[in-house]
Symmetry: C2
């Protein structure tokens, strides 16, 4: 029973999660590409094992700690998808020497040169990809920038294995409909394929062409020229993804179980023991059409209780009230002290990170506890 | 040297921290009240031991996990400052039976009754305080509400030890000058003293009168009738407290050490390896006069580099640029790949919580590593 769980707790509805995994895998299979899930969302071996069992090929990580932890758990094909800095190359090398097929990425001559210098001095050929900027939101080299060829030559002629190019259309989080997302997916695809073609026409190898974000992955209609897709948050989904239009709240597999600890009845407030320490400070829906505050409120069965949201949060206190601003004067009777609620998160990656374990449920029955790790 | 530390890392400048501890303790001593620091900010024994050594009396916690951890580390006078729910009373009782002087708080008949029922069945007298609402921002009973007397009678006649009243003027975080804060501190004081007087004139005991928030504590001019003050974030301070006007950036003892991993030179962007996973998603300065984005940028010595801020953050990527919106075209030369920066946090409680340890520094020399814990 959920009442056996100390609150706040991070719940995974396994049925929903497995449905989310199957949906993404099926779409990737239809489009003829490999899926390399980004495990920064769950940081949990049990989740990644289920993605692998359903057909995923390798994993993506955002930190070397993730690479080390997942390698120790039996994942040996790992793309470290944040540009490597010189001071971290030793740690990457140590992983590779232990047998991990770790690929690193660079978007500068400085980092590429440091990688080949280290490779030369250690007689080691690193696997490297070049990050391409296809939507201007973060890192990467523009596909038509001369720098792309220079970095590729530095790697290839310096003794590294130039595995290809990768990009992440993170600006997809700002869109809200499938047409716009399909256009961005095509932009992501066509620009990185152009980058790959530039490398090949310069006589450089580019076997891998890697794209990805959950929204563009799910809305892509054609991925010609792409070899693999990376996506993370689809495994749980969240309210941001619901607002972006790639899922609905009943698809969201992660929720925070919380207990009512008090009321301010004349204001129509319920106070619960999940504050921002549990939900995270992520307010990703604030800029969207539907602002869920710190989360959407569900009953113990995971059904959304329409009209309520966590409007505000202190460190260990969440304030739940009507989302239309009306005062619910019966709120203390509706949600009495000790009552359990579940709160769907704005951003599953941020909320999951506030917990050291997930409680896995089948319906309302706890069936397992899965550890997750943190840190760098 | 700072370059020996893997980034991102949470740094504590011990000199600044000790100055912050001394400042608060001196003010409390001058006002003739005890200081009971809120350890939810640091969740670190070494920090709390230094607060105790400088004169603090007992600690405040926001979760039972904090109470359990700090009790195991030798802190036995603990106020658990979130209303207890019936399902957690067993855990509180277990702590008390092991010798912890744990005080719990309630703001409802339901919780008060559950406490005395458990006490009766276990032949145990719990120490309890009643939370008072003095500024309408969260939990607590209004000082003039008849409910106050009812809760007090339930506790006192039910066999609990009614230790007194407590309040937290959390709305102080929305103010920005000492005059307004001094007025709120006086409101906090006068309303809780009125609540205490109501209890006493009803023949009920009220030995303790506890108030606190860092801003009201530092700006209070008179605390007549108050016996103790609780404050947390003062130990580190942060950019929210700077905007609230109770510190300046050079007082901030917590910073995040980060490495430059790339640039988008034509946009004037530096990309660093501290994203929101390191800084937290807290955007507490967004509603203030000075919006620092995800943090203010400092050199390795902790001096603010005027004109730069972390304007945006992804999970493991922070984007640093000029805060006036101008494009710094020399930014790649100014902050090359591998360069170390320190970022002051919006909210120390939220940023600290992203790390499992603090690296303590004296100037730029790492001198210790202090563990911190998380969870519930």
């Amino acid at each position: 029973m959920l009442s056996d769980i100390q609150t706040p707790a991070a719940l995974i509805d396994e049925t929903r999660m497995m449905r989310n995994i199957a949906r993404m895998q099926a779409h990737m299979t239809t489009l003829g590409v490999r899926l390399r899930p980004h495990v920064k969302t769950s940081k949990c071996f049990e989740v990644a094992k289920r993605q692998r069992a359903q057909g995923a090929s390798g994993i993506t990580v955002s930190t070397l700690k993730e690479a080390e932890q997942f390698f120790a758990a039996g994942f040996d094909d790992i793309l470290y998808a944040a540009c490597i800095v010189p001071s971290r190359i030793d740690r990457a090398l140590a992983l590779r020497r232990r047998g991990c097929r770790l690929t690193v990425i660079v978007d500068s001559i400085t980092a590429a040169q440091a990688l080949v210098d280290k490779g030369r001095s250690e007689q080691h050929a690193f696997d490297a990809m070049i990050e391409i900027d296809t939507d201007g939101h973060r890192s990467g080299v523009k596909p038509n920038d001369e720098l792309l060829i220079e970095i590729a030559r530095t790697l290839h002629h310096g003794g590294a294995v130039l595995k290809g190019v990768m990009t992440h259309a993170g600006s997809s989080y700002d869109l809200d409909n499938h047409e716009a997302l399909a256009r961005l997916a095509e932009q992501e695809r066509s620009l990185i394929v152009a980058a790959a073609e530039r490398l090949r026409s310069s006589g450089l190898p580019c076997p891998e062409v890697s794209v990805g974000s959950t929204p563009t992955a799910l809305c892509a209609r054609d991925l010609s020229g792409v070899t693999e897709v990376r996506a993370g948050v689809y495994v749980f989904f969240d309210l941001v993804m619901s607002n972006v239009s790639v899922c609905t709240p009943p698809d969201i597999a992660l929720s925070v179980l919380t207990t009512v600890i008090g009321h301010q009845s004349e204001k129509g407030w319920v106070i619960v023991d999940a504050g921002w320490m549990a939900m995270s400070r992520d307010r990703g829906t604030a800029r969207h059409g539907i602002d869920y505050g710190y989360g959407a409120v569900c009953d113990c069965g995971g059904e959304v209780i329409a009209g309520y949201a966590m409007a505000a949060a202190n460190q260990e206190h969440g304030i739940i009230c009507r989302s239309d601003g009306e005062v619910d004067r019966d709120i203390a009777e509706r949600f009495p002290i000790g009552h359990l609620l579940r709160v769907l998160p704005n951003h599953a990656c941020a909320t999951g990170a506030q917990f050291s374990e997930y409680r896995v449920i089948d319906g309302q029955n706890p069936i397992a506890t899965w550890e997750r790790f943190d840190g760098w």
